[in-house]
Amino acid sequence: MENRMLLLTVLAGGFFMAWAYPSDAKLNVIASTPDLAAIAREVGGDRADVTSLAKGTEDPHFVDPKPSFIRILNQADALIEGGADLEVGWLPPLVLNARNPKIHLGQPGRIVAAEVVRLLEVPTGQIDRSMGDVHPFGNPHFTLDPLNGKLIAERIKERLCVLSAADCPFFTTNAKQVEDKIDSRLALWQKQMAPLRGTKVVTYHRSYSYLAERFGLQVLNTIEPKPGIPPSASHARDLITQMKAEGVKLILMEPNRERKTPAFLAQQTGARVVMIPSMVGGSKEAGDYLALFDHIVKTLLMDAGQQLP
């Protein structure tokens, strides 16, 4: 009888230990968006399992906080979020219910990408919601500048090193590799995009501000009259006047947005509508972080009738 009790206790203890301390030594890294996940995959290599909560095709402001995400976050060693209020509408209750102190704010396992990049469009005057979904901390779509990707890779590496010191040299090598790759590809992309520098564009949402800044495109206006506010007839009229006056021939938008207004604007002004993904996974060609820019550059050049050198 006592032996049986002992056996049961050992079994129960073993089960608990197996649950509490999984034998898999890989770090379990969860990213809020696929861009951040893609960068984390480059840094973590085969010593990190990386999962993205949002999908590349969906609006990252309005992700459903599915209960399965609670389970995923419960098992996380690290959570990478964009920050700057990008995920404010869905991530906080998931983190609360995940019961995982490792991913709470201030912990090494909570990586906030916005902390390491220079945010654009930070409001300098008074703001309120009559201005639409304005972000008090600045534009959160910053992964579309490859140099920000480098800074984020560096931060992810630093934190993974804290979480798994033994693998630090591996993460450091990976981070250096991805940063070098970004540098060399950026040089190529900028060379390819040189003919498009100074091109005036209108975008649907303020999703491409960082891309435009890096590659020298001029975003004159957005189809949304204010961030997150759907197009109105009066704004469309003003936009047509402005596009004609300024000679805007390019409208950039994500593939999932409504296409009626951009098509109407294009028809009225002779501009072309070009759809480019704003995140990794936003189209099938944008499978990883570098492929995202390869695809964007290729799409823009094809539209402009330029041949790849």
Partner: protein, 471 residues
């Protein structure tokens, strides 16, 4: 120059939340380990910022070899100014109005214009459109903040206005644990019972303008809530599975199926003044809830709950309520602002109420049984627009021995068969406001099954920083 760089770096670290707050608590062994880790992170941050500034100084030549001419023109001095400005702005933004430690505050108001075909209509919920003309359905002040490394607190203070009289009540204030071990989470304070799906939701989360009939009948006009403690456990399964154990005080109009209010009646049975005297006089609830995703666009959440506790129709009488809930949501992977979507929500409840005997009125003991369900389908068919339809059905048995004059019309309306059909259309100008038009077609046994019609035009405003909702 260097002084400025370091000042910048230190400011940035402080703003980015790198300062370990736990340093002020008496450290234990594990906390010292944590502190060491956090110090390491801070040192890394400082090193990183130093590198970043150096990088900025050498840009564009090192970062982007083919950098365009306008990038080259940006002087390091200007970059540093940008960085300083950014730090200042982030600091200002993160401090909010006064302090980052203030709770998040939001106020939500729901108002409606209502027309009924019968002036004694069948909308009994406190937050329903209840009277002809204009109604203040619910004004809610929500505050949320973190107490310390161990608890987050949510507070809801609710105001309603009935016939010009304003009432303010503490609807909820509860703490949720942040750091219990073994996947446990504690909720303590006053809160809505996590029975089913809608009982814990506030009116601005509802997809319809009024409370489902079965929830009103079993949980009262305000929903079931009270002071108590709840412990939940997230099971270590590959899918989401959570077990909840809950104990709450069962008194007042917020616990009508249980100890309720002395002097009230239920189908002729007078309710006694039955205070809580022993541990068995509390309200207990086990609940299990799970969720899975058959496809990447489809999410299913379902749960089962049982409530048992004392009722005040006798000194040892009890009530049991069983419930099942199902929520299925389809949302495509390429949605914009959450549209389009289809959400189907259904709850079924059954109550077994051990009533009497009421010796004063000569009514023998009986079992009052109630059951009912509501099922609603909402289709977000276009960005900002949603159309929904809900069907309610309830019925009851038992309690027929009381002479009719002992049973008020209000009590008669809470028994017998009733069904209701409610189509609606909602327009969201933004995620902070909405307009909703709803029609109710209502048939109740207590009203000789004659149709009662209701039309509501509801408007909602939300200001401030409202905490995100759960799924």
């Amino acid at each position: 120059m260097h002084t400025r760089i370091y000042a910048c770096a230190v400011l940035f670290v402080l703003v980015s939340g790198g300062w370990p707050q736990t340093a002020f608590a008496a450290p234990t062994g594990t906390e010292i380990e944590d502190l060491k880790k956090q110090m390491a992170v801070m040192e890394e941050q400082l090193r990183f910022l130093r590198r970043k500034v150096e990088q900025l100084e050498t840009q564009p030549s090192s970062a982007a070899p083919e950098a365009p001419t306008e990038n080259k023109g940006i002087k390091t001095e200007q970059r540093l100014k940008d960085l300083e400005l950014q730090v200042g702005q982030q600091k200002a933004a993160s401090r909010g109005l006064l302090s980052p430690f203030n709770p998040k505050i939001s106020v939500n108001g729901i108002f409606s214009a209502a027309m009924f075909s019968d002036k004694d209509n069948l909308n009994f919920g406190d937050h329903d459109p209840q009277v002809q003309g204009f109604n203040v359905q619910n004004v809610e002040l929500h505050l949320q903040g973190t107490v310390d490394p161990y608890f987050q607190v949510d507070t809801n203070i609710v105001t309603t206005v009935k016939k010009g009289d304003t009432t303010i009540e503490l609807e909820e204030m509860y703490g949720t644990s942040l750091a219990l071990p073994a996947n446990l989470q504690l909720v303590a304070g006053q809160y809505f019972t996590r029975f089913g799906r809608q009982n814990r939701q506030h009116p601005h989360q509802w997809d319809f303008a009024d409370q489902p009939v079965i929830l009103n009948r079993l949980f009262g006009k305000d929903g079931l809530r009270g002071p108590g403690m709840q412990l939940s456990w997230l099971a270590p399964t590959p899918f989401y599975l959570e077990f909840i154990a809950n104990a709450q005080q069962a008194q007042g109009e917020i616990a009508t199926s249980f100890l309720s209010k002395p002097g009230e009646t239920i189908r002729g049975y007078s309710l006694l003044d039955r205070p809580v005297q022993k541990i068995g006089d509390l309200l207990y609830m086990p609940r299990v809830v799970t969720s899975f995703e058959p496809t990447e666009e489809l999410t299913v959440a379902m749960g089962g709950s049982t409530l048992f506790g004392p009722n005040a129709s006798g000194p040892n009488n009890t009530t049991i309520i069983y419930g099942g809930d199902l929520y299925v949501k389809w949302k495509p992977v390429d949605h914009v602002k959450g549209f389009p979507f289809v959400a189907w929500q259904t709850e079924y409840l059954f109550r077994d109420y051990e009533a009497g005997p009421d010796n004063a009125n000569g009514i023998p003991a009986d079992r009052l049984k109630d059951f009912g369900l509501y099922s609603q389908l909402v289709y977000g068919f276009y960005e900002r627009w949603a159309a929904g339809v809900r069907i309610d059905y309830v019925n009851s048995s038992g309690g027929g021995a009381a002479v009719p004059f002992l049973i008020s019309q209000a009590q008669r309306d809470l028994a017998g068969e009733r069904w209701r059909l409610s189509p609606n259309l909602t327009f969201y100008p933004s995620e902070f406001s909405k307009f909703r038009l709803q029609y109710n077609l209502d048939f109740a046994e207590s009203r000789r099954r004659e149709a009662v019609h209701g039309v509501f035009l509801q408007v909602e405003f939300n200001i401030g920083e409202h905490a995100a909702h759960t799924f």
